[in-house]
């Protein structure tokens, strides 16, 4: 997606400065998903496919109210379903809208080696630029939410853009627009956090969900999609939502200490070899009466 109106504050695989860093006064945008009022109607899934003009994708029925097992390169938004048996034996249907979380500290962007293939706009949206993507799949490794999906034909990765083309025109994302119950909200991060906290308090005080709370994981700097959960102490129940997502430690080690140690060793090695040549020069062997190699008749 080309975003003339959006400035960039983080660029993947980029040597040098970032043009939009701290140049613009913008609010961070955020989706709020209230899982307690989601009815699993899948309108948001359809709206996503429709708005983004993606080819229709075969669904998979696995005896649940879930369209397919996982998101796909052309299916960015999926309601994950879990029939949870509570302590008293009663059943609870948990529905969670699963899509890119638009992390403040995106693991995909951190892992990406291609200049400009992943950007984060000043409004917080993390966006893949397929024309710069090289298809290496490092973003798949960097993501703690299992979001980026590779198209095996184009060899590029795709995911939710947070409807960047809509929000840059002042519209809300297609999924938000389509939600019939109002469980989806869109606005600034501050407003959404306030709304989410109000709703969680209401669930605790008035509906008996003692552990109700807001999911905005600090391990990735907070996310551009936040959830209200009936039980915020067990996010895993909601389609495997990680309780403390982080950029994988392996990616952190690879991109920071290993990179600096490796660069230091490489440059040091080259300088050292050159210095060795200056100090000691080539080895000399007595040729005696023997003509040198290559001087044969």
């Amino acid at each position: 997606m080309s975003q003339a109106t959006l400035r960039i504050q983080k660029i993947s695989g980029h040597a040098g400065t970032v043009p939009g860093e701290d140049t613009q006064r913008t609010e961070t945008l955020c989706k709020l998903v209230d899982t307690t009022t989601c009815i699993g109607c899948k309108a948001c899934e359809v709206a996503c496919v429709e708005w983004n003009d993606m080819p229709f994708s075969q669904t998979t029925f696995e005896n649940t109210y879930q369209t397919m097992p996982d998101t796909r390169w052309n299916y960015w938004n999926l309601i994950l379903f879990n029939e949870h048996e509570q302590a008293d034996g009663s059943l609870q249907w948990l529905m969670r809208k699963h899509q890119c979380m638009h992390c403040a500290e995106p693991g995909c962007l951190e892992a990406c080696p291609a200049d400009g293939a992943i950007v984060q706009y000043t409004n917080g949206v993390v966006d893949f630029q397929q024309d710069h993507c090289i298809g290496c799949g490092y973003c798949i490794t960097g993501c703690p939410f299992n979001i980026p999906k590779l198209n095996s034909v184009t060899k590029r990765v795709y995911k939710c853009t947070l409807c960047t083309d809509r929000i840059s025109e002042g519209l809300e994302p297609a999924c938000i627009k389509s939600c019939p119950t109002g469980c989806l909200h869109f606005g600034t991060k501050d407003d959404m956090k306030n709304l989410a906290n109000q709703r969680a308090k209401q669930l605790r005080d008035q509906y008996g969900f003692a552990n109700a709370g807001v999911y905005d994981p600090p391990g990735v700097g907070g996310t551009g999609v936040i959830y209200v959960l009936h039980d915020a102490t067990k996010p895993e129940l909601y389609g495997g939502l990680p309780s403390n997502p982080r950029i994988p430690i392996a990616v952190k080690l690879w991109k920071h200490p290993l990179k600096w140690l490796g660069n230091f060793a490489l440059i040091g090695g080259l300088v050292g070899l050159f210095a060795h040549y200056l100090r000691f020069g080539p080895k000399a062997h007595e040729e005696e009466d023997i003509p040198p190699t290559g001087a044969r008749p």
Binding site: G13, H14, A15, D70, A111, P113, A114, D115, H132, C133, I134, G135, C136, G137, Y138, I140, T141, N146, K149, L150, S152, K155, P248, I249, A250, V251, L253, W254, L258, K259, G262, N263, A265, L266, G269, L270, L273, H276, Y277, F280, G281, P282, K283, A284, H285, E286, E287, E288, D289, I290, P291, P292, T293, G294, R296, P297
Partner: protein, 220 residues
């Protein structure tokens, strides 16, 4: 007498590398240079231009694994050719403990190395084991999108081990090129035309020299 392919060549030269050894060496070298350039491009944004020069990031990502297979195959052929000659013996251990004399060009103080000295043997094994690690982790990175989420630890392992193994081979590669092109005159020619002078053999591989001289009457 020996199981080595060398035979005396005219004008006080001796064949050090057969055509098969030389050809395989350059297949390994050529593929390694490509892997080095594209791999370093993916390693650091400051070096990404190398992938651009070589046809773009997408092409580099597409070809890197295939060239990697070629390189691994070439290294495994080296194993078939040379592994039998790469075992460390007492002379090698002594050679290694006198490395400082080798580094400071006091080669007359070195114990008599055979066809390969301890440094070359170390290079060989670092490339052999390096190629195995690079191949296995490279397969994970090549087909990373086919791995299920439950096996994501393989990806984490691969993104760490692939560059570590690469860095180890790069360090050895730098030293190898330096020794072969700049430090030991005659070494580069040996992997082009195959032969070295007897003076070269006597100076750097006295044990090997003795084997050749002792096993042949027809020199000069």
């Amino acid at each position: 007498m020996t199981d080595h392919p060398e035979r005396l060549a005219p004008h006080h030269h001796v064949l050090r590398y057969t055509f098969a050894e030389r050809l395989n060496h350059w297949i390994a070298a050529g593929s390694y240079l490509y892997l080095l350039a594209t791999g370093l491009a993916f390693w650091s944004p400051w070096l990404f231009w190398m992938a651009v020069v070589l046809g773009g990031g997408q092409i580099s990502r597409q070809l890197h694994p295939w060239v990697g297979l070629l390189f691994a195959g070439s290294v495994f052929y080296m194993y078939a050719l040379w592994a039998g000659q790469m075992g460390f013996d007492a002379v090698d251990r002594e050679w290694w403990s006198n490395l400082r004399y080798y580094i400071t060009n006091q080669d007359d103080k070195m114990p008599p190395a055979g066809r390969y000295n301890a440094g070359q043997k170390m290079l060989f094994w670092s490339f052999f084991y390096g190629a195995i690690v690079l191949l296995l982790t490279g397969l994970v990175l090549w087909f990373t999108d086919y791995l299920p989420w439950s096996l994501r630890w393989l990806r984490y392992l691969a993104v760490l081990l692939h560059p570590i193994a690469a860095l180890v081979t790069i360090g050895n590669f730098f030293i190898h090129v330096y020794m072969g092109v700049f430090a030991e005159r005659g070494a580069f020619g040996s992997v082009i035309r195959g032969d070295v002078s007897l003076a070269f053999a006597k100076r750097y591989h006295p044990g090997w020299y003795q084997e050749i001289v002792g096993s042949s009457d027809d020199r000069k």
